[in-house]
């Protein structure tokens, strides 16, 4: 998967940009789910240069969650229910919209207050060696917010896709 929507960059790719003053650089912090279980660690930040802010947190998933997912795959194969699997071996990262989390500066923890362990376990993953595209972003949003009705912006390929509450603090 190549990131055809090249308005998203990993912050460490942008040598001339940094986290703005008075905002936390959460890279290296742990992230927990709605039950305070550790999901993984913030590996990088996906930013939009035009919007001058972070859009996604790039999370390296915890080994326990990856192992739980593998066990599920084995179970399904054993039961032969024909489920199509959505990730490859080696894909151990997911993205989380910035507006879906809150930040605790004291404990250096990021909290995905509305997302549970099973949601993260079942969300599409991607390989960090490759980038993702808008289709992957839509799958992830569907996984986190299946109840949301898609609007016109949902189908756009430009930055209007990010004009929703899951991406900001409004």
């Amino acid at each position: 998967m190549e990131n055809k929507h090249k308005n998203l960059y990993r912050l460490d790719e942008l040598s001339d940009y940094k986290i703005a003053s008075n905002y936390s650089d959460v890279r290296g912090w742990k992230i927990v789910d709605s039950d305070n279980q550790t999901i993984g660690e913030i590996d990088n930040l996906w930013v939009n240069k035009d919007m001058q802010r972070v859009i996604y947190l790039d999370v390296k998933l915890d080994k326990r969650l990856l192992e739980d997912s593998r066990n599920e795959v084995r179970d399904v194969i054993a039961n032969d229910n024909g489920k199509e699997f959505i990730y490859k071996e080696g894909a151990s990262h997911i993205i989380i919209p910035i507006g879906s989390v809150s930040i605790n500066k004291d404990t250096k923890t990021v909290m995905a207050n509305t997302l549970g362990y099973d949601t993260f376990r079942n969300t599409n993953r991607y390989d960090r060696q490759q980038n993702f595209d808008r289709e992957y972003e839509r799958k992830v949003m569907n996984s986190y917010y299946p109840q949301n009705n898609p609007d016109s912006a949902y189908y756009s390929d430009d930055d209007s896709f990010y004009n929703r509450r899951e991406f900001d603090n409004k």
Binding site: K18, I19, V26, G99, S100, I103
Partner: protein, 51 residues
């Protein structure tokens, strides 16, 4: 919910250039010999050595 903004880093080279200019001025003021050698000084030395 969280928000993290980014900003462009401020360039460093203007400050480096300023430091070099200040360093150059300090060097010029304190270390460069500003004494001038005139012809009259040379004449005085010659007359005194003639004794």
């Amino acid at each position: 919910m969280a928000e993290i903004k980014i900003e462009k880093k401020k360039p460093v080279w203007p400050w480096i250039a300023l430091l070099l200019v200040i360093g150059g001025l300090i060097y010029y003021i304190y270390f460069v010999d500003h004494e001038t050698h005139t012809e009259s000084n040379v004449e005085i030395e010659n007359t005194t050595s003639a004794k």
